[in-house]
Symmetry: C2
Subunit: 449 residues, 2 copies
């Protein structure tokens, strides 16, 4: 009986799946994962206290989207098994997202990395399903190895602070996975504020979050380059790496030079670096109280969350590549150029088209929802704008208003996290339910957006 219902459902789903666009399938897939997570988290067996319908839905969406915004304390509300489910949800969300974006990058851009030659280069005419599976396996192995190393390092660090043995094991695994997937979920109620001067913990989180947010392709690209195995680092990897380093440096310097909250502390450089890093990688942990930051710093952190990092990793945001394409348009126009270039490379129309649409839609959504939340909530503008940018960028930083949002406000933030993870353009495209997508043309040089 049960099997028959499952079969019916399965057949219905397959029928539905083939009739819709890939974008719709992606949105639908994320939605089903979210609903499954929500159903699991709703089982009272996993609760320490009563949890409302909306809060369970919020945590499930936040985990699948690797955002890390929470309306309730994960540690105080869910028991060990509940916490384990939350971790599995953001692990699935993180790995799923990284393999998807990597796959997309490989197939829409030419010669982006040595992976191309191994997977779809010379053997393009041969059946390449096995090679792709190999590649995705590599990405998953990379993820698990990084997370295992991170957990070991975390364990040493937590033990140094005197944490009890069993708790240290669980906390190490949970936070390592959370950091690498840039999920930002924590089992401490004030994120890592208690560890703002702990060099080891700051280092572990930073390495995991940067690796996760830059993604498998960029990391291996940089690795091969540093190891001297290749001179040919791809244009996209270059843009991502330099853009990331540039923004991270500017962010660190600005916070260090101007934020009163940081200047009063004993570890100003590390705290400046960490807050800039957490916004850009969209990991969302914090070591100083975000709600106490001055207005200019809040605005700058909003800007960093808005940009985000790489399109090939787990980070959210507009992406450095989109920003680059937009800057290329502006620069070329101001110089009176007919063609749009960046670092002497012509950026193809298709990329600019995607970048402009993404920029326009992403920015509009932030302002639309800031406007709507200004109606439904009673918080000051910087706090609302911050929350919206954090949710759509799947960052998870907050000035502390998440738990105090009205039910309507929580539902809006849930929608933002979901759309932020699926991608604004994918979501918009899926809503319009078109089947055809543009096949990327053969292009001279390339910048993935």
């Amino acid at each position: 009986m049960k099997k028959s219902i499952f079969n019916k459902f399965s057949r219905w789903y397959k029928k539905y799946q083939v009739s819709k666009s890939p974008q719709m399938n992606l949105v639908w897939g994320y939605f089903l994962y979210t609903v499954a997570g929500f159903a699991l988290l709703s089982i009272p067996l996993f609760h320490k206290v009563d949890i409302t319908f909306v809060d369970n839905f919020f945590i499930a969406t936040s985990a699948i989207s690797t955002t890390g915004l929470v309306t309730i304390s994960v540690f105080d509300s869910y028991n060990f098994f509940g916490q384990l489910i939350v971790m599995l949800l953001f692990q699935i969300g993180g790995i799923g997202y990284m393999t998807l974006t990597t796959y997309y990058l490989l197939f829409t851009t030419k010669r982006i990395t040595h992976w191309h030659s191994r997977i779809i280069g010379a053997e393009f005419t041969m059946p390449n399903t096995i090679k792709i599976n190999d590649f995705i396996k590599s990405a998953i192995v990379f993820t698990l190895v990084m997370e295992a190393l991170g957990a070991i390092a975390f364990f040493i660090a937590f033990r140094q602070t005197g944490m009890e043995y069993l708790q240290a094991i669980w906390f190490s695994v949970f936070h390592s996975v959370s950091a690498f997937c840039t999920a930002g979920f924590g089992l401490f109620n004030h994120s890592f504020v208690g560890y703002s001067e702990n060099v080891l913990i700051n280092t572990i989180i930073s390495i995991l979050a940067i690796a996760g947010s830059l993604g498998f392709i960029v990391i291996t690209d940089i690795w091969y380059r540093l190891a001297g195995k290749t001179n040919d680092i791809s244009f996209t990897s270059k843009i991502i790496t330099y853009g990331f380093l540039f923004l991270l440096t500017v962010g660190t310097l600005l916070l260090f030079a101007t934020e009163p909250l940081i200047q009063r502390s004993g570890a100003a450089v590390m705290q400046s670096f960490f807050q800039a890093m957490t916004a850009m990688t969209t990991v969302g942990f914090n070591t100083i109280s975000t709600g106490d930051l001055s207005l200019p710093t809040l605005l700058f952190v909003i800007f960093l969350m808005y940009i985000g990092a790489s399109p090939s990793g787990t980070a959210g945001g507009l992406k450095i590549t989109t920003l680059t394409a937009m800057l290329a348009i502006l620069k070329s126009r101001l110089l009176g150029q007919k063609k749009i270039t960046f670092f002497n490379r012509i950026i193809p129309f298709e990329r600019l088209y995607v970048a402009t649409s993404t920029f326009m839609l992403y920015t509009s959504i932030i302002f639309l929802f800031t406007f709507l939340l200004a109606y439904s909530e009673d918080f000051a503008l910087p706090k609302i704008l911050f929350e919206v940018a954090s949710a759509l960028g799947t960052v998870g930083l907050s000035t502390g208003i998440t738990g105090e949002l009205s039910t309507v406000g929580k539902l809006m933030v849930i929608l933002l996290m979901f759309v932020g993870r699926v991608g604004v353009l994918t979501f918009g495209f899926a809503l319009l339910e078109r089947k055809s997508i543009d096949v990327p043309e053969t292009i001279k040089d390339d910048l993935a957006v």
Copy 2:
């Protein structure tokens, strides 16, 4: 002796002028007008009280740019002759801007209006200097006639309220010119707050400001269409007219439905319409206290100021046409189209290129200066953002912080008003001092940006 210095200067200026781009000449021209206005306003003979260097500079820039933001009361600080100078400055600014934009529109777009056929259509190969002069004369006559009619109507309205005869004459002329040039300068210290329920005055300002902001071409286009003299209203005029009416209706309804300050009053519909109109036309008069508006309304008014109105009139802002081009990109992308269309017309690449650059630069400048003012000033974010959007859009509405800005803050707002009037792209282009500009190509259909 004096003449010789003038000759030297004149020769130097001419030499300078021909060596730079048209954009640089425009920026330079505006700057010289501003300096001349500043010099005149600085003469103590025209003052009622002591006025600082920065305040005179602020008023001169605000007048030339037809913004209307003031750090000091024009009526309390300048005597009649000082006020006359202020009026002449925004009259020059307004007429200069309208003829410039009209000229630009006529020469960069094809078949935009019946004016083309009269001026540059069939007689394109003939010397057309006289025809262009004729056209510009028409625009100036149109302006003066509108302003004269406005002044007469104002006079009747002011006399009805019991205003003294001589004052009524001066106030009528000043406010009529100010409304048509969308300058927003007033001789009342609280703009038109005292007249929020006066139907006649609301009507006069609205007609003048809408006529001025839509501009000569669009108004005559609509006029010819309504009079049945042509069926062929241009695409650009259509987009501007419909876009303007749409936003104005939405704005009025939203303010009427949600703003508590308006709902408490006796003339809710008129007040809603007026605040939406004043933001869109960028005239900048207000009939209710802007600083007392609720947060969502402030955000919506910021949005309207950000968009502005027509590229052919005296209004500032991003312009409806730029917004349309951006929406066309987004819509076409979401529908999976290869070509970018709007109302079934292909919008040429050149227009999209300009629109995207303008959108990007305009939005970036708003956020950069909001960020900088958050450092230098001690006001809440909505007030700062509002001031920046008002200055760059040459609107002149304020939540009341203009006079309380620090000197650095005032200088930043001066720069914003100047850049807002010259145009963000023109200013950026001029800074880079390129001589060549792209010659517009022959294009099938057209949307001016």
